[in-house]
């Protein structure tokens, strides 16, 4: 895991040590935890929420919640798994809190505005965001963790606290759904 999540703060201090120091009230140690994991936490939240500004707010909430609950972190799982879990839960909660109906709940017939695609026909980031937004919550969370963050099935299982078999089946269905949405989007554009 350390290979995929290199320490972006330039230190080699292990997470466990930083957690111990943070628990003892060392805010600088917690600052290093934030620096190390903020990009990943933000991406997970962004994958689920879509909106950049709202994602930053929620990412902040994730770290505040982690800080407030450091005493409860038992170390059974790795710190990043624990942070990802908080990130997924907070992002889904923020999504439910949204007052106006989100864009993605608009009828399927409403075609998105034409937008140039990225190289080799891949969807643009805006399109990807829109496709993700149309997935059900549990599908969006698992696709974000796997395809955006590159977590292994075991890590996803630990993060979402679901059995490995459920990870496989849910990811399969989520990708199926995402592909269907992408195909429809492409066909709608071709028809224009």
């Amino acid at each position: 895991m350390a290979g995929r999540h290199p320490t972006s703060d330039g230190t080699t201090l292990p997470d466990e040590w930083l957690v111990r120091k943070s628990r003892a009230g060392d805010t600088e140690a917690f600052g290093l935890i934030v620096t190390r994991h903020q990009a990943a936490v933000y991406r997970v939240v962004r994958g689920i929420l879509g909106d950049p500004a709202e994602s930053e707010d929620v990412a902040q909430e994730v770290f505040l919640k982690a800080y407030a609950n450091l005493a409860r972190f038992r170390g059974d799982s790795s710190l990043f798994t624990w942070l990802y879990r908080i990130a997924v839960n907070e992002a889904l909660r923020a999504r439910k809190r949204r007052v106006p109906p989100p864009l993605e709940t608009l009828p399927e017939t409403e075609a998105p505005p034409p937008e140039p695609e990225a190289e080799e026909g891949a969807p643009t980031l805006r399109t990807l965001q829109r496709l993700l937004a149309r997935l059900p919550d549990d599908y969006r969370a698992i696709v974000t963790l796997r395809d955006l963050e590159g977590l292994s099935y075991q890590e996803i299982s630990a993060t979402l606290e679901i059995p490995l078999g459920t990870v496989e089946s849910r990811l399969f269905r989520a990708r199926q759904e995402l592909r269907t949405l992408w195909r429809k989007t492409k066909e709608a554009r071709n028809a224009l």
Partner: protein, 125 residues
């Protein structure tokens, strides 16, 4: 390989010679593989580009014992000031004791004193 197996392998992100052979012969599965590859490219771009702004900061709340220390200091400082003031030597003009206790009665003035007050020119030598 059947289309069902090919699609299961593609959704699971698997590769292999059997799959390649199937894809070269099946238009439908090739389309699926192409769509999934395009989505994966978009995810790779998102991974590189979705990052918090440089202004992103996490402001930690003051930890409880620090909050307690600040509250205690705010309470103790005025208390210490009041204590220091009350320990100073008492000002006689503000001596509550002296004001409240009745003064001993002074002796009544003599006749000469009364006359001196009323008729100062007569009493002058």
């Amino acid at each position: 390989m059947l289309c069902e197996d090919a699609s299961r392998a593609l959704y699971a992100g698997e590769t292999g010679p059997d799959l390649e052979v199937h894809l070269s012969a099946c238009e439908q599965c090739r389309l699926l593989a192409e769509d999934l590859a395009q989505l994966q490219r978009a995810f790779a771009r998102a991974r590189a580009e979705w990052a918090p702004s440089p202004a992103f900061r996490v402001r930690l709340p003051v930890i409880p014992w620090k909050r307690l220390a600040i509250a205690a200091a705010l309470l103790l400082l005025p208390l210490a000031g009041w204590t220091a003031l009350s320990l100073r030597a008492p000002d006689p003009s503000r001596d509550l004791h002296a004001i409240l206790l009745p003064r001993p009665p002074s002796p009544p003035p003599s006749d000469r004193e009364i006359l001196a007050t009323l008729l100062p020119e007569v009493t002058q030598p």
